[in-house]
Structures are given as C-alpha cells and as structure tokens.
C-alpha cells in the first residue's frame, strides 16, 4: 500500500490558495480606508522645493500644468493635481493647463473646473485649458515656438487670441514655470524636448513607481522638484493645509506595504525551509 505523504507546514504555505492572499489584501485596504489612523508624514526636500517655488511666484504669473494621466493612475495623481491647483489658485496665479494623454482629457477638465469653482476663478482670465493634441513630443516642441501652433483653439473651441489670459502669452517664455503631473512617457519628452531646449523651470509629479527614474534630473538641476506618488501628494496637502485624500491614502498604502512585506518574508521562510530539507534529503540519499 502506498504511503500517504503528509504535507509539512511549509508545503501548505507554498501552496496557499491565492484567493486567501487576495482576502488579506482586501482587508488590509478596506480597514484603514474606513478607519484612517492618521500616520505622521515627513516632508521631503523635493516636495518642499515645489512648494517654495510656487510660494515665490507673484500673483498674476502663469504656471503651466500639463496634466497627463488617465483613470488608471488617477487614484495616485488626482490628489496631487488637486493640491497643486489649489495652491496655485489660492496664490492668485494664473493656470494654463493641457492634457497630452488621450484618455485623460475629460478627467483633467473636470478637475480643473472643480478647483477653479472653489476659488471663483474665471475661465479665460484666470485659467485656460488647452485640451489634447496627439504626439506629445511634437506638441511640446511646437508650444516652445507658439502655443497657437498645436492649439489654435482651446479645449472648448475658442480661439486662444480671444482669451484675455492668452493675449500676451505666446510660448514658454511667458510662463513662470511648468509643472507636469504625468504618468506617461511624456515625462521624458518634457525633459528632453521642453526643458532641454527651451530652458524653462520644470517640476514633476509622477506615479511613485516612475519617480525613481527621474531623481537624477533633480540632482542635475533639470527638474526643480519631484512629487512622488501618493506620498508626495500627502506631503503637499500638509504643506498647503488643505485636502486629506492623499493623507488618508497613505494609511492604506502603509498597511498594504506592510502586508506585502509580510507576504515576502513568509514566502521566503517557507522557501528556505523547503530548500534546506530538500538538500538534507539529497545528502541522506
């Protein structure tokens, strides 16, 4: 009669049903989302640099916001966009926005209009939304010559020349800084074809997973600051003293990260025990 193999604990662990893992993740995300515990968040120098740059601007100056993301990354980048727009409008800066990501155009329009309403800002005088044009690299380059080349009309079909804010705004020379919140390859285009050629101050807000690629440009001075993912957005919310979406999100992210680390450790413990036992059995044989 064949001997029945009794599974060891580590074999059970290695063969665990993925649905159990999913359940843990679900609980880890749900609990802090429902009952946030407000973990303290430290401000990083890269985020402080962005805040200081906006604080140093005079009312009426134009800040350009290329907001290039779509619903897939909105959870991370939307709180950042809200915080940045709120800061700009509260300082009475004028906002020139565009979205060079085809699936984010309406999302971005909605966000800008919502924040503008909070501060009673008037379209055309206080802010303008250019909308979308394909081929970001080309659009970035052509805007360096004249915003009217890629965008003769704004998102709503109005001629740029008829908008008061755009009357004396020809190209990047007329904006004080560009801050792109971006989850696309467009970040590289802004650095290479935009800042590289036209030398405007450029800041970046990106998904955390992408940000590690761009810290080198802060060190080289090509970017004046980076807001990285939800953590960066939470830091910015603290700096401006408004909003708490990202701050709440950091509780969720903290628990989720901790859970994934526990998973990695447990998986490795089971793996190492199994490997040691397998070696032992081989040596015995």
């Amino acid at each position: 009669m064949a001997e029945v193999h009794k599974k060891h604990w580590y074999e059970h662990m290695l063969a665990i049903d993925r649905r159990i893992l999913y359940l843990f993740v679900f609980i880890a995300v749900l609990v802090p989302a429902l009952f946030p515990f407000g973990l303290p968040i430290k401000i990083t120098p890269e985020v402080q640099a962005v805040y200081d740059r906006i604080e140093a601007m005079q009312p009426g100056e134009i800040v350009m916001f290329p907001l290039e993301y779509d619903p897939s990354t909105a959870a991370e980048l939307e709180p950042m966009a809200f915080a940045m727009l709120r800061h700009a409008f509260s300082r009475n800066l004028r906002v020139l926005a565009c979205c060079l990501s085809s699936t984010g155009v309406s999302l971005v329009e909605d966000e800008i209009a919502r924040v503008a309403r909070e501060y009673d800002k008037e379209y055309g005088s206080d802010y303008v939304y250019l909308g979308y044009q394909p081929y970001p690299a080309i659009v970035i380059m052509t805007m360096g010559e004249n915003f009217r080349t890629p965008f003769p009309l704004d998102y709503y079909g109005t001629s740029l020349d008829s908008l008061p804010m755009m009357k004396k705004t020809k190209n990047y020379d007329d904006v004080s800084m560009v801050f792109t919140i971006n989850a696309t390859s467009g970040i590289d285009y802004w650095i290479i074809y935009g800042q590289g050629r036209y030398k405007f101050p450029l800041g970046l807000g990106s998904a955390a997973v992408m940000a590690t690629n761009y810290y080198q440009y802060v060190q080289s001075g090509q970017l004046f600051g980076i807001i990285s993912g939800l953590r960066g957005a939470a830091e910015y919310e603290i700096l401006i003293g408004q909003g708490n979406v990202a701050r709440k999100g950091m509780d969720v992210q903290s628990v989720a990260h901790a859970l994934i680390i526990i998973f990695i450790l447990l998986g490795n413990i089971a793996f190492l025990v199994e490997r040691r036992r397998a070696r032992h059995l081989t040596e015995e044989a």
Partner: protein, 214 residues
C-alpha cells in the same frame, strides 16, 4: 530615385534640425516652426493610417472568426460609438463625457486597482532570495517599500545614541534611491543617449534607413 529622394530629404532635414538648434537667426526659427507644422500634419495622417490598420485587422478577425473574435466587436463598437458621441460635443454633461466617466473611467481604475492583488500574490509566490544577488534585491525592495510609507518611520526610526546616528528605514531608502539607483540609471541613460545619437547619425547619413523598409 525611390530610395535616393527620401534619403536626401532625411539628410537635409536632419542636418538642418541639428544645426538649427545652434542658430538664433529669424529665418532659421521660421523654417523650424514650419517644419513643426508639417510634423503635426504628418502625425494626423499617421493616426488615420493607424485607425485604418486597426479596422482592417479587426474586421479580418471577424470575417475569419479568429480566436477571441467577439472582443473585436467590443473594440469596433467602442471606437465608432465614441466617435459618434463626439459629434454632440465634448463639454461636461455631453454624451461623450458621460460615456467616458461611466465606462472608461471605472474600467481603467478597476484594472489598475486589481494590480494590488496580483502584486501581493506574486510577491508571496515568486519574490525569492534564491541567490546572493536576488537576496540583495529582496532586502533593498523591502527597505524601499517600508521607507516610502509613514509606517516605516514608526517601525524603524532614526536613532541617535550620543554622537552616533543610526539611520532609520527612510534614510536608508533615500540613500538607496539617490545613490545606487541613480548611479545605475545614469549609466543606462548615458548609454541610451549615446546609442540614440549614433542611430540618429546613421539615419541622417543614410547608413541605416529603417523608415524606407516595408
């Protein structure tokens, strides 16, 4: 002629754009602006070609009842549906924007949110310290994951004992990101830049002509 004319155009345009970067002359700027306009026009035609290609591929799939052909119906309905809705305007409250917020927005957000579950499962099953290098990667990943969230600073804070400072997980994570990570990234980017410049030079000089193939 079929080969020579495009090669000459490429060479003249490429050399002009390279040299134009260093010339502030008005004529040079004017030609540059005109070329930028042309780029947009060419780009629009490229989109049209792309849409035609997509249509052909998916109508062929439907005709031959290839595997997963019902997805092609979804794609075509989505494509034409959004184009048709676009004729009623794109402002807030328009059918186009309604479709965007009620279909595309939740679908994309859901797809991305599911990643959290897959990553957790993959981390448990596959992220193993099988070798020294894999173990270094594993430890670095854990430190960076912990260092990027506020919980990390609570679990493993920076400690000062007299004149000695023992860095916390955030400080170590920042060091990992700003020193080894940047060193590797810079090396890769410098390599990419040099490779890109060499390829561009080859294309401009006609040594390589990928745009003439097919």
């Amino acid at each position: 002629m079929k080969r020579e004319v495009p090669l000459i155009i490429t060479m003249v345009t490429g050399l002009f754009l390279a040299l134009q970067y260093y010339s502030p002359h008005r004529l040079s700027a004017h030609i540059y602006e005109t070329l930028m306009d042309w780029l947009i026009i060419v780009g629009v035609f490229a989109i049209m070609l792309g849409i035609l290609g997509l249509l052909r591929q998916h109508t062929d799939k439907l005709k031959t009842r290839e595997r997963n052909w019902p997805y092609s119906i979804a794609l075509l309905v989505g494509l034409f549906g959004m184009v048709i809705l676009g004729f009623w305007g794109q402002g807030m409250g328009s059918p186009f924007v309604q479709a965007y917020f009620t279909v595309l927005n939740p679908v994309q957000a859901t797809m991305f949110a599911l990643l959290a579950f897959y990553i957790a499962s993959a981390a448990y099953r596959s992220f193993r310290g099988r070798s020294v290098l894999a173990s270094i990667l594993l430890i670095s990943a854990i430190i960076v994951m912990l260092g990027r969230v506020p919980l990390g600073e609570i679990i493993w804070p920076t400690v000062k004992i007299g004149s000695i400072t023992i860095p916390g997980v955030t400080a170590i994570s920042d060091w990992l990101l700003n020193v080894p990570n940047l060193a590797a990234k810079r090396a890769i980017y410098v390599g990419l830049g040099l490779g890109g410049a060499a390829t561009a030079l080859k294309v401009v000089l006609g040594i390589e002509a990928p745009h003439l193939r097919g």
